[in-house]
Amino acid sequence: MENLFTNQQIDVSALPQIQDVTWSPLNKKYLPISLIGTWIFGLILCGIFLGVNLTNTDLIEADWVVWGVSGGIILLFVLISIVSILGFKHKAYALREHDILYKSGLIFRKTIALPYNRVQHSEINQGPIERNFDLAQLEVFTAGGSNSDLVIPGLLNEDAQRIKTFIMAKSANHE
């Protein structure tokens, strides 16, 4: 019960520890850019709702309901923004010799580790706003389904390319 591993030659405490890793933060530009994206979406949503209801007053008769719902949408996006501002500093990645790590989460802290020899393929994605600021998002896929895919947002495009090349070289070595 006390010890996790019995009957083995290697000493578990001598294994490389994830706890000791030096984490690289995401690019500082990522936070404002993701906020801009969130708010464009939020305002469009709110705008559509208001537009439909103000031109077509039969849908919802009471004015205060219309304004209340719009306020609710704005409040929701304020909350989302707060979470992403506070959560930003918890997002970080690290490349080790044999695996790639990514951590995230404000309330639920997650750390995922993905060995290079399990990588199936990887992708670099750039949204329209990201492209203007030369940022990119790296996605690394395994055979473990969507749950185990690793997504690192907010990388400089050039870094993302470099990391991708590195990962693909590492994963090709194993085949």
């Binding site: 995922i112 395994t142 185990s148």
Partner: protein, 506 residues
């Protein structure tokens, strides 16, 4: 295989005409499914007559178009093999060629619906690896030919892998391996009607009853739209199951679901045969739709076997051999589920897939009791508050009954779950035992893991606990509320195994 037969497979061929028939049948079935939703409200509605004629014409045009296209595409659809790959040529307006190299083929399965059985044809399903994975399906071809194709592809794959090891390193056993005769399939289990009864009787009938009730509700929802009657209001107005009104329907649903499940089980697993084959295992089953699932030993990721209180009396398990599935397609057809297995068949499969398991020395671990308390908040206290509020608003006694019964039941289940949960960690394997009333056990080798994830909520951070998610090529296993120190140790060790051994995981 004679050369003549082989040449035959190289020749591009059309499917059996049964394919057209299959298409028409499925077309009619789908058409009626949609038609019911479209036409019933129209018949009841006011403007039915005027809209009907347009709709009828439109539907007819679309139907004729689809049928013509499908018949044309049947004549333009060819399949054949060449030295390296399985090929399909298709397309009416634009030609399309699908080329599937043998080394990318992971799985070849057959399926026979009742019409296939009558005409002696099968559906050939070829599954490929990788996240860009897709499945190729040849709807109907003669059984002998399908078997010839499968044997040929598997043979080619084996030769490819032998060549591979040959060039990689000098393996002494190569010549020997080539000499080894293909062993005939060994029948491990054949379910008779009595076994099927046992399995059917011991299914989870309560779950089926809930599904039926759920379907009933959604059907009621459809009727509501048509007849403009609110069934929820009816329910609330008449809800008084203290006074027996609801006991009768509940028992009725349970009895119905019992028979439905029994019949479904017998049809689905009829004459199930579970073979140990040269490559791994093979399961054939079904009365109307006869299905064959082939499993390759190397592709097996997790082996899971489950019982429940009734099955414990019969000493039978449902064995689920989970093999790697292609990234996007995760359908049930890939699932090799063998109900009605006895312990010795489970052991046989374990021994064959994971030979090292026998020498394994496991250490036993439990999850923290905080699991019960935290989950009770979500599944006990929140529903309690919800139903109490409903009770005070609507003043119906049955909401009070639910409000009290829910947390009691939730607490009971959580305590059972916590009491049973065990993680067994060995040097090569992990075994997880869990369940409420029944017990499910899952074993998987550490080196086949795809990724490891650790998650901590605010509460768990304070208590030094963590959820460990182990992602495999067939699903994720999560160990909740594991002591943080052990969780990190487990993660580091699992990563070490995956990265240092570098064994192929399929």
């Amino acid at each position: 295989m004679s050369n003549e037969q082989l040449l035959d497979l190289y020749e591009p061929k059309r499917q059996s005409p049964v394919a057209i028939m299959m298409f028409i049948i499925s077309f009619i079935r789908k058409f009626f499914n949609i038609a019911i939703y479209v036409f019933i409200p129209l018949f009841v509605g006011k403007q039915a007559a005027s809209i009907m004629t347009y709709l009828e014409i439109a539907a007819l045009v679309i139907a004729v178009f689809i049928l013509t296209m499908s018949i044309l595409s049947y004549f333009k659809y060819y399949y054949f093999i060449d030295d390296q790959s399985f090929n399909i040529q298709k397309g009416v307006l634009s030609k399309k060629k699908v080329n599937l190299p043998f080394e990318r083929i992971q799985n070849i399965n057959f399926e026979q619906k009742i019409i296939h059985q009558i005409f002696g044809v099968v559906t050939l399903q070829i599954d490929t690896a990788g996240s860009a994975g897709n499945e190729i399906k040849v709807e109907a071809l003669p059984k002998a030919e399908a078997e010839a194709i499968r044997d040929y592809i598997l043979e080619q794959k084996r030769e490819l892998s032998l060549q591979h090891t040959d060039t990689d390193e000098e393996v002494a056993g190569v010549e020997e391996a080539e000499v080894i005769e293909r062993k005939p399939d060994e029948l491990l289990l054949n379910l008779g009607i009595l076994d099927l009864m046992k399995i059917g009787v011991s299914q989870n009938h309560i779950r089926t009853a809930f599904i039926i009730i759920g379907l009933g509700f959604s059907f009621a929802g459809n009727l509501e739209d048509i007849f403009k009657i609110n069934f929820f209001d009816l329910f609330v107005e008449n809800a008084d199951f203290i006074g027996n009104t609801y006991i009768f329907p509940l028992v009725f649903f349970l009895i119905i679901s019992f028979f439905i499940t029994l019949v479904r089980t017998i049809l689905k697993h009829f004459d199930l045969r579970f073979y140990k084959s040269h490559e791994g295992f093979k399961v054939t089953s079904g009365l109307f739709t006869r299905q064959e699932v082939a499993l390759r030993r190397e592709k097996v990721q997790i082996i899971q076997w489950t019982d429940n209180p009734i099955r414990r009396i019969f000493k039978i398990f449902t064995l689920d051999i989970k093999q790697a599935v292609s990234g996007i397609v995760r359908n049930n057809k890939q699932k090799a589920e063998v109900p009605g297995c006895y312990q010795h068949q489970v052991d046989e499969v374990l021994k064959s897939c994971f030979p090292d398991l026998a020498d394994e020395d496991f250490s036993e671990h439990r999850i923290h009791s905080a699991f019960v308390i935290r989950r009770f908040i979500y599944f006990g206290l929140i529903p309690l508050a919800l139903f109490l509020t409903l009770y005070f608003i609507l003043e119906k006694i049955n909401f009070l009954v639910i409000a009290i019964a829910f947390p009691v039941f939730a607490l009971l289940l959580l305590l059972l779950f916590h009491k049973k949960y065990r993680v067994y960690v060995g040097t090569q394997f992990i075994k997880i035992k869990k369940g409420f009333f029944g017990t499910s056990r899952a074993v998987f080798p550490l080196y086949k893991i795809q990724a490891v994830e650790i998650e901590q909520s605010i509460y768990q951070r304070r208590k030094d606990l963590a959820n460990v998610s182990i992602h495999t090529a067939n699903g994720t296993l999560t160990i909740p509320y594991f002591p943080l120190e052990k969780a990190l140790e487990l993660k580091n060790y699992a990563l070490y195994k995956v990265e240092s051994e570098n064994r192929p995981w399929m």
